[in-house]
């Protein structure tokens, strides 16, 4: 019993750190990425001892600022709901992760630890339920603030939730029918197979229309451009969080990015094979663990040394540019990269090519989790990329797209999948 609780606790902590680590990175990527897309340089001023990390210090400064700001609250608010709404949004954003696997299992000392916090048999229903609960926080926050802009934002959020929840469920139904299960771990495991011996059986391959519908619905659910009508600042100030300030606003703000990470993780898990590394199934990884581990350590070490060399070259070139502590930065980063590279190369002396069974299992887990995180990072970045590319839809366009286009297409896709399954399994 005790090890079970410890395992669960460790997995929860890992997931929590994963999300909370992603949030500031995404805020940074949003600011810096949007800047680069628009030919600006973006934030690059905040520094700790001259180390600016290309603006990565800014999210920390932002959060510190929000924490120490005065909490201005509207006088006519609903006291309990006003404080409760941001917490609800954050809790909902966090709890979706419980059913998303970040690796298949870890085998240590004869114990087989599944790498998912809660492997629910109805995992997909849980996700749909929790996702629609997210709107409650927005709606309550908008209502409790007692302001017309927040109210309009809340109303729009509810409308888009009702419209797109159906499409989201419909787009996933095809996936359930093909994999025959609601369990997320099973769906991800099923995507490890190959069709015709070379094509990974990913969700996007078996359900391309479902993927397009799902990604649009998920963008609507997370209130991101082009479906950002709940907080469109040219129309309704800041939408549902207009009246929020200080730490409560920070919670809403972080929850928005946490929702993006959830959505990215869902897309990765359901349509892009989750933790599955294409053409490298677990059996293959375990069989050649020693060789692969040696190879990746050497490659990682070599790459770090190259990066270190580039930074040192830059440090030499930029000497005298600023005449202050900022000149330390490239040298510092180069030293870090050199240390990492030397550490990785140094670990080669521990003979990783003759790694044991437990070591192989850990290696497989690290590789698969890394693959999952890479996929999540890409789709989280896609959210930002799309936001700075596409203009947003008008309110009526969002409704029309949801009800008149996506819903019928979703139903047609479902019917087509059913017909195809009947023909294929006859």
């Amino acid at each position: 019993m005790v090890p079970l609780v410890l395992e669960a606790f460790a997995k929860i902590v890992f997931m929590f750190l994963l999300i909370m680590g992603f949030v500031p990175l995404l805020i940074w990527a949003e600011r810096k990425g949007s800047a680069f897309i628009q030919d600006r340089t973006g934030p690059n001023r905040a520094a700790v001892l001259g180390i600016r990390l290309a603006g990565l210090v800014h999210p920390i400064a932002d959060v510190l600022k929000l924490v120490f700001k005065e909490d201005v609250v509207p006088a006519q608010r609903h006291r309990f709901l006003y404080a409760f709404a941001p917490m609800l949004v954050m809790v909902v954003a966090m709890s979706t992760y419980a059913v998303i696997p970040f690796g298949d299992y870890l085998e240590i000392g004869g114990r087989r630890i599944p790498l998912v916090v809660a492997d629910l048999k109805v995992g997909m229903l849980y996700i749909l339920a929790i996702a629609s609960l997210g709107t409650y926080g927005v709606a309550l926050g908008g209502w409790a603030s007692n302001s017309k802009y927040t109210f309009l934002g809340a109303m729009r959020s509810t409308a888009s939730m009702i419209s797109y929840e159906i499409t989201m469920a419909l787009s996933l139904l095809g996936l359930f029918m093909i994999f025959g299960t609601l369990q997320i771990t099973q769906i991800v495991a099923g995507q490890g197979e190959l069709i015709w011996g070379w094509l990974p059986r990913w969700g996007i391959v078996v359900q391309p229309v479902g993927f397009l519908l799902f990604i649009a619905a998920v963008y609507a659910e997370t209130n991101r451009t082009p479906f950002d009508m709940t907080e469109r600042d040219s129309e309704i100030v800041a939408g549902y969080h207009t009246e929020y300030s200080s730490l409560k606003f920070a919670l809403f703000f972080m929850a928005e990015y946490a929702h993006m990470v959830v959505a990215a993780a869902l897309i990765a898990a359901l349509f892009f094979g989750g933790y599955q590394i294409p053409w490298l199934p677990r059996s293959l990884l375990e069989a050649h663990a020693g060789m692969l581990l040696t190879g990746s350590l050497a490659a990682g070490g070599g790459l770090s040394l190259v990066v270190a060399w580039l930074y040192f070259r830059r440090a030499r070139r930029e000497r005298g540019w600023y005449n202050d502590s900022r000149e330390r930065e490239p040298g510092f980063l180069g030293a870090v990269a050199a240390l990492v590279g030397l550490g990785l190369l140094g670990s080669l002396t521990l003979a990783p090519w003759s790694v044991g069974a437990a070591g192989a299992s850990i290696f497989v887990t690290v590789a698969q989790t890394g693959c999952f995180i890479a996929k999540v990072a890409f789709f989280a970045w896609l959210f930002i990329w799309v936001r700075w590319t596409v203009p947003s839809f008008r309110y009526d366009q969002v409704m029309r797209l949801g009800w008149q286009i996506m819903l019928p297409v979703g139903l047609l896709n479902l019917a087509a999948t059913a017909v195809w399954l009947v023909i294929a399994h006859r």
Partner: protein, 168 residues
């Protein structure tokens, strides 16, 4: 029809099927923004942004910055307190108190010469009006900042020894 040549009704082109399906068009847009992103990532130094406090744009020699008073060879102001500049000044920011000069060849000199930099509109008319080239706006200083209004009223000594520093 008051405006000839303009269409009476603005008609929008009908979107084709693929355009109204959005996804293809969004991917094209992503390619455009992605190109900008990659170009800026790979050539960070070529971005047009001026990293202001460290880098500065070069302004032309005609740029009108903070004023300065020119000196004679003995260090006294070249100004003869003729009041041309304070008369022509549209913002009325120059105040001169004239006094008799010891040298009979020079009629007057400014006992005090103050400019209120907050009222100045940097039009340069004082330069144009000056008959003996005593006031110029060629310091190139444009960062004029202080934490109280009184500091912006600068006097003769300040204007005679105008160094290249923005702080007042």
């Amino acid at each position: 029809m008051p405006y000839k040549g303009l269409p009476e009704v603005v008609t929008t082109r009908r979107r084709s099927f693929w355009e109204s399906a959005y996804f293809v068009e969004i991917c094209k847009g992503l390619a455009v923004t992605g190109r900008h992103l990659l170009r800026n990532l790979l050539h960070t130094g070529e971005m047009p942004t001026v990293q202001y406090p460290e880098q500065r744009r070069d302004y032309g020699p005609r740029f009108r910055g903070r004023h300065r008073l020119l000196q004679r060879e003995d260090g006294s102001p070249r100004c003869v307190a003729c009041m041309m500049c304070s008369t022509v000044c549209p913002a009325d920011c120059i105040e001169i108190v004239a006094a008799e000069h010891a040298d009979p060849a020079i009629e007057k000199y400014p006992a005090s010469f103050t400019i209120d930099l907050l009222r100045c509109v940097y039009c340069g008319l004082c330069e144009e009006a000056c008959p003996c080239d005593a006031i110029r706006m060629d310091t190139g200083i444009y960062e004029i900042a202080a934490d109280n209004r009184q500091a912006f009223v600068v006097d003769k000594d300040f204007l005679l020894h105008n160094d290249k520093d923005g702080t007042l």
